[in-house]
C-alpha cells in the first residue's frame, strides 16, 4: 500500500467547566482544580444528584464574526462555536485567504440539544387523558403548537452544530455527526483523521459538543444509577480509580480540533501542535448496560490504534521509556468502567502497564459525554507541549484491584512524546487515538 498522508493537529479550542481558553484551563488541570458545584440551570435540589460541572460565564458572542448568524443556536452549538473559533484561529485559518473551503470538512461527535422541558411537559400534562391513560392527540398537538417554539425544537437535532460551524467558517467539505455516547468525539476525530488520510479532504474541523445538564438528562442517568450521589462537597464527587468511587459527574462543553494533512499545513506555513498516528475502534457486542468484563473490546481498540501507529505495546521505546508516555483514561469514576479499563490496559501493555502514567481529567471537569474525548485529546496535546501530566483528583483510597499509576492528586512533570487517549461509550463503542510530538 502506498504512503498515506501524515495528519497533524494545527488548532485546538475548548469550552469547559474549568474555563473557556486553552491556557487558563490547562493551568487549572495541572493544579488539580474542580469545576463541580450545585446545578444552577434548573432547581435540582430534590434530585438524587443535584450537582454537576457547568460551563460558567460563557458568552458565545465574544467568539463570533457576526453573532446574528447564530441567534437561535442551542447551548451545545454555542459551545461548539466557541471551541471551534479558538481552534480555527489557533490554526491560523482566519488569516489564510487561499483556503479552498470545499476541501475543509466537518466531523463532530455532538450530542442532541437541550429539551425545552417546561413547555414539553406542559404539552404532555395538558394532553394527558388520565382515564384512557394515554394522551389525547388533538389536545396534545394544540397545546404543543401553542407553547413550544420551532427554533428550540429544530436546534435539538444532533446535526445542528455542524450546520452552525459550516455557517461560521463557510466550509463545504464532507460533513458527519456521530453519536456514540461517551466515545463520540474520539470516534469523530479518528474518522476525520481517516478522511484526510484517504485524500477526501485537506482539513477537518472535528471534536464534540454536548450538554445533558437538564432535568430529563439528569433523570436518565440517575435512573441508570450511573451518576455519583455523593453527599458532601461536590468537588469530591468524581473519584476515578478510588475505592470509594460511586459514579460519574456530569460535565458539559466542547472540544474542537483542526486537523490537516501535513502537506497542507506545511504549504501554508502552519505549525503542527502534534501528529495523529493511530486510531482504533471496536465494539463490545456484549450487553446494552454492561461492558465486556474482561476488557476485550477496549483492548481491541487500543491494539488497533497501536498497530496503525507502529508501536509495539510489549516493548520499551528506543529511548528506554515505556512505549506510551501517558494514557488519558476514560476514567469515569464508575465501579465498572475503572476496573475494566484497568484490566484492558493490563491486557494490552502487560508488565509495562504499571509504568505508564494514566489519569482522568473527569475527576476535575466531570464527564462531557459526547465532548469528553475531544477535550481529553487536547489534554494530551498540552501534556506533550508542556511536559506535564494532569492528575487524577480525589484519589485518596487506593483500590487494591486497581494497580496502575493513576497520577494521584498531584500533577507531574515528565517528558511526554506519545499519548494514548481512550473513550468508551454506553452501547459498547470503544475508541482510541494516539498522538505524538510532531517531528518534521
Amino acid at each position: 500500500m502506498s504512503e498515506s498522508p501524515r495528519v497533524v493537529l494545527t488548532g485546538i479550542g475548548w469550552v469547559t467547566p474549568l474555563g473557556c481558553d486553552i491556557d487558563s484551563v490547562w493551568k487549572k488541570l495541572v493544579s488539580g482544580a474542580s469545576g463541580m458545584a450545585p446545578i444552577t440551570r434548573f432547581d435540582a435540589r430534590t434530585f438524587p444528584t443535584s450537582f454537576a460541572a457547568e460551563v460558567k460565564d460563557y458568552d458565545v458572542a465574544e467568539y463570533l464574526r457576526d453573532p446574528s448568524l447564530h441567534q437561535h443556536a442551542g447551548l451545545n452549538s454555542q459551545f461548539a462555536l466557541g471551541a471551534a473559533s479558538q481552534a480555527w484561529r489557533r490554526a491560523g485559518l482566519d488569516r489564510f485567504e487561499q483556503l479552498d473551503r470545499s476541501r475543509v470538512g466537518l466531523y463532530l461527535g455532538a450530542g442532541e440539544g437541550v429539551l425545552d422541558t417546561e413547555n414539553y411537559m406542559r404539552a404532555n400534562l395538558r394532553g394527558w387523558d388520565p382515564e384512557a391513560r394515554c394522551i389525547d392527540g388533538v389536545r396534545w398537538a394544540e397545546n404543543a403548537l401553542e407553547c413550544m417554539h420551532a427554533q428550540k425544537e429544530i436546534e435539538q437535532e444532533p446535526n445542528m452544530p455542524l450546520a452552525h460551524l459550516a455557517r461560521e467558517f463557510e466550509v463545504n467539505g464532507p460533513a458527519y455527526n456521530c453519536l456514540t455516547a461517551c466515545a463520540a468525539s474520539t470516534q469523530a476525530i479518528g474518522e476525520a483523521f481517516d478522511i484526510i488520510r484517504r485524500g477526501e479532504a485537506d482539513v477537518m474541523i472535528s471534536g464534540g459538543a454536548h450538554t445533558m445538564i437538564h432535568p430529563l438528562g439528569v433523570t436518565g442517568f440517575n435512573r441508570l444509577t450511573a451518576l455519583s450521589t455523593h453527599k458532601g462537597d461536590p468537588a469530591e464527587a468524581s473519584r476515578p480509580f478510588d475505592r470509594t468511587r460511586d459514579g460519574f459527574v456530569m460535565g458539559e462543553g466542547s472540544g474542537i480540533v483542526v486537523i490537516e494533512s501535513l502537506e497542507h499545513a506545511a504549504a501554508r506555513g502552519a505549525t503542527p501542535l502534534a501528529e495523529i498516528i493511530g486510531y482504533g475502534s471496536s465494539c463490545d457486542a456484549f450487553r446494552i448496560t454492561d461492558i465486556q468484563p474482561d476488557g476485550r473490546g477496549a483492548a481491541a481498540a487500543m491494539e488497533m490504534a497501536l498497530d496503525q501507529a507502529g508501536i509495539d505495546p510489549g516493548r520499551l521505546a528506543e529511548n528506554g521509556r515505556p512505549p506510551i508516555d501517558y494514557i488519558s483514561a476514560h476514567g469515569t469514576g464508575t465501579q465498572e468502567n475503572d476496573s475494566i479499563e484497568t484490566r484492558a490496559v493490563r491486557r494490552v501493555f502487560g508488565d509495562l502497564a504499571p509504568s505508564i502514567p494514566m489519569s482522568s481529567i473527569k475527576s476535575m471537569m466531570g464527564h462531557l459525554i459526547a465532548a469528553a474525548g475531544a477535550v481529553e485529546l487536547i489534554t494530551c496535546v498540552m501534556a506533550i507541549q508542556q511536559g506535564e501530566l494532569p492528575p487524577t483528583r480525589n484519589l485518596h483510597h487506593p483500590d487494591p484491584e486497581l494497580d496502575l499509576d493513576y497520577v494521584p492528586n498531584e500533577s507531574r512533570k515528565a517528558p511526554v512524546d506519545t499519548c494514548l487517549s481512550n473513550n468508551f461509550g454506553f452501547g459498547g463503542q470503544n475508541d482510541t487515538l494516539i498522538v505524538t510530538r510532531f517531528k518534521g
Partner: protein, 452 residues
C-alpha cells in the same frame, strides 16, 4: 488518492417500510405503484397539518419474531427506531446468507466477529409520549404545571431504570451488534436524511482501510410520534392535508403543485462486503458501491428552518461520487434523489441534477419513492440504496405515482408504469435538513468485467 481501495459490494438487502419487511414486499409495492400513506393510526393526529404517514401494518412487523428467543426480553427497551434497525439487520443477514450469533449461536460465523463492523444512521428519538406523560402526571403543582421538585423527589422513579437507553441514538447499532456479534468498528451517524448515506460511506472507508471485511450498514427512523410530527411541521416540511385529499397523491416530488412531504417509518440495513470476501465465499454481489461523495451546504441565517439555496454543494457531492466511481455523468442510467416533495428542497436538487447532467437532465429517468413509502428520516438513504440495488439486479425501473398528466419541468419524474430498462449505474443522492449531502454510485455487478 493515495491509498489503495478495496472494492465494496452489496451482498444483502434488509429494507423495512410500509410495504413490509425485506426487499420483496418493497419491490412489489414499488413496481405496482402502491402507496402506504394513510391516516396515522396510533393516536388522533388530526390537529396537525399533516395527519398522514406511511406506516407498517401491525401484522407485518413484530420485532420479537426477528430476534433470537433469548433476546426477546430486550425488545421491551427498543424504541420503534431501534426495532426497525434490528428487523432490517435480520433481513439483510438472511439475504446475504451470513451465519451470525443470531442465525446459529453454536455455528461458526461466516465472518469473524472482529472483522464485522456496523454503521447505522439514526435520528433524534423522542421519548414515548404516553410513558413519559404517565410518569410526570403525578408531578404537578396546584396550577397543574410540571413540578420539578416532586419529579426529582419521587416522580422520576415512575420511569423504568433503563428508560434513557430506549432513546439513545446509538442503541440501534448497540442492539444490532449484540444480536449479530459485530465486534469491529461501529458508529452511529446522526445527520437527518443523510445519515444512511454517510453510514454507507463510512462502512466503505472502514472496509477499504482494512479494519473490517463486512459491515451491517444503513439507518432507520420513525418520526410518527407526536413530537416527531410536531418538529417536522415546525420545520415547514410537511404537506397541509385537506379533507378529501387522496393520501396517495399528497407527495408530489418535482411537480409544479408540490406542497410538502409526508413522514414514513422505515429504514434498512445492507450487508456491505469487500469484494474478495464475497468471492471467497462464493456469493454473487447484488451491486457494487462504486463511488461515494459527501458535502455540506452553506447554511442560511435561520439554521435548519430554511434551506440554503445552494445547489453547488449538492453538485459537489455528486461530482465527488462520480469521480470516485471513476465515471462521468454519461455513465449514469437513472437517478434516485431524495425526492421529498418539499418544493424548496426539490428545486435545489433539480438544479443540482441540471448542473451535473446538463442536456441529459431531462432524459434521465428519476426514481421516486417518498410518495409510496413516505419520508423516512435517517432511514431514507438506506431505503433508496436498497431500491436502487434491486433495480440493478432486476434491470427494471419501478413505477412513479402521481396525478395523470402531472408536469415535472426539466426532469423525467412524472407518473409512469414500471418498465424494463438497461441499467448499469444508478446515482443515489440524499440531501438533509441541516445541510449534509451524500451521493452514491451503484453499479451493476458484472463478474466478467472484473479486472482482477
Amino acid at each position: 488518492m493515495t491509498t489503495q481501495r478495496r472494492r465494496v459490494v452489496i451482498t444483502g438487502l434488509g429494507p423495512i417500510c410500509t410495504f413490509g419487511i425485506g426487499i420483496k414486499p418493497m419491490w412489489e409495492g414499488m413496481v405496482a405503484g402502491a402507496s402506504g400513506i394513510r391516516p396515522i393510526e396510533s393516536y388522533d393526529a388530526s390537529a396537525f397539518d399533516c395527519p398522514l404517514a406511511a406506516q407498517l401494518a401491525a401484522d407485518d412487523f413484530d420485532v420479537r419474531k426477528l430476534v433470537p428467543k433469548t433476546y426477546r426480553k430486550a425488545t421491551k427497551v427498543m424504541a420503534r427506531d431501534i426495532a426497525l434497525a434490528v428487523g432490517g439487520a435480520a433481513m439483510a443477514v438472511e439475504d446475504a446468507g451470513l451465519v451470525t450469533r443470531a442465525t446459529d449461536p453454536d455455528g461458526e460465523p461466516t465472518i469473524p466477529p472482529s472483522r464485522t463492523g456496523c454503521h447505522i444512521g439514526a435520528g433524534l428519538i423522542a421519548a414515548d409520549v404516553n410513558e413519559l406523560s404517565l410518569a410526570v402526571s403525578t408531578s404537578v403543582d396546584e396550577d397543574g404545571e410540571f413540578d420539578l421538585s416532586k419529579w426529582g423527589d419521587s416522580g422520576m422513579g415512575n420511569l423504568t431504570p433503563l428508560w434513557l437507553l430506549k432513546y439513545l441514538p446509538n442503541m440501534l447499532a448497540c442492539h444490532v451488534t449484540i444480536i449479530h456479534d459485530c465486534q469491529g468498528p461501529s458508529n452511529t451517524i446522526t445527520c437527518a436524511e443523510a445519515s444512511s448515506g454517510l453510514s454507507i460511506g463510512e462502512s466503505m472507508r472502514v472496509i477499504s482501510r482494512g479494519h473490517a471485511d463486512v459491515c451491517l450498514s444503513g439507518g432507520a427512523e420513525c418520526k410518527l410520534d407526536p413530537m416527531g410530527v410536531l418538529r417536522q411541521q415546525f420545520a415547514g416540511r410537511l404537506a397541509t392535508v385537506r379533507d378529501g385529499d387522496d393520501p396517495t397523491r399528497v407527495v408530489r416530488p418535482f411537480m409544479e403543485d408540490a406542497g410538502g412531504s409526508v413522514l414514513g417509518e422505515g429504514g434498512g440495513i445492507l450487508v456491505l462486503e469487500a469484494l474478495e470476501s464475497a468471492r471467497s465465499r462464493g456469493v454473487a454481489p447484488i451491486a457494487e458501491i462504486a463511488g461515494f461523495g459527501a458535502s455540506q451546504a452553506a447554511c442560511p441565517d435561520t439554521v435548519g428552518l430554511v434551506y440554503a439555496d445552494d445547489d453547488r454543494s449538492v453538485q459537489a457531492a455528486i461530482t465527488c461520487a462520480l469521480a470516485s466511481a471513476d465515471c462521468s455523468p454519461e455513465d449514469i442510467d437513472a437517478i434516485l434523489p431524495l425526492g421529498s416533495g418539499i418544493p424548496v428542497r426539490d428545486a435545489i436538487d433539480r438544479r443540482a441534477i441540471q448542473d451535473v447532467f446538463g442536456d441529459r437532465a431531462s432524459e434521465l429517468p428519476l426514481i421516486t419513492c417518498v410518495p409510496n413509502i413516505g419520508l423516512c428520516g435517517a432511514g431514507s438513504g438506506a431505503l433508496a440504496t436498497a431500491l436502487a440495488a434491486e433495480c440493478l439486479r432486476r434491470q427494471m425501473l419501478p413505477a412513479r405515482i402521481g396525478e395523470e398528466g402531472a408536469e415535472t419541468p426539466g426532469l423525467d419524474a412524472g407518473p409512469i408504469e414500471a418498465r424494463s430498462a438497461e441499467l448499469r449505474s444508478i446515482l443515489v443522492f440524499t440531501t438533509s435538513m441541516g445541510g449534509q449531502n451524500t451521493a452514491l454510485v451503484l453499479r451493476r455487478f458484472d463478474e466478467e468485467e472484473v479486472d482482477g
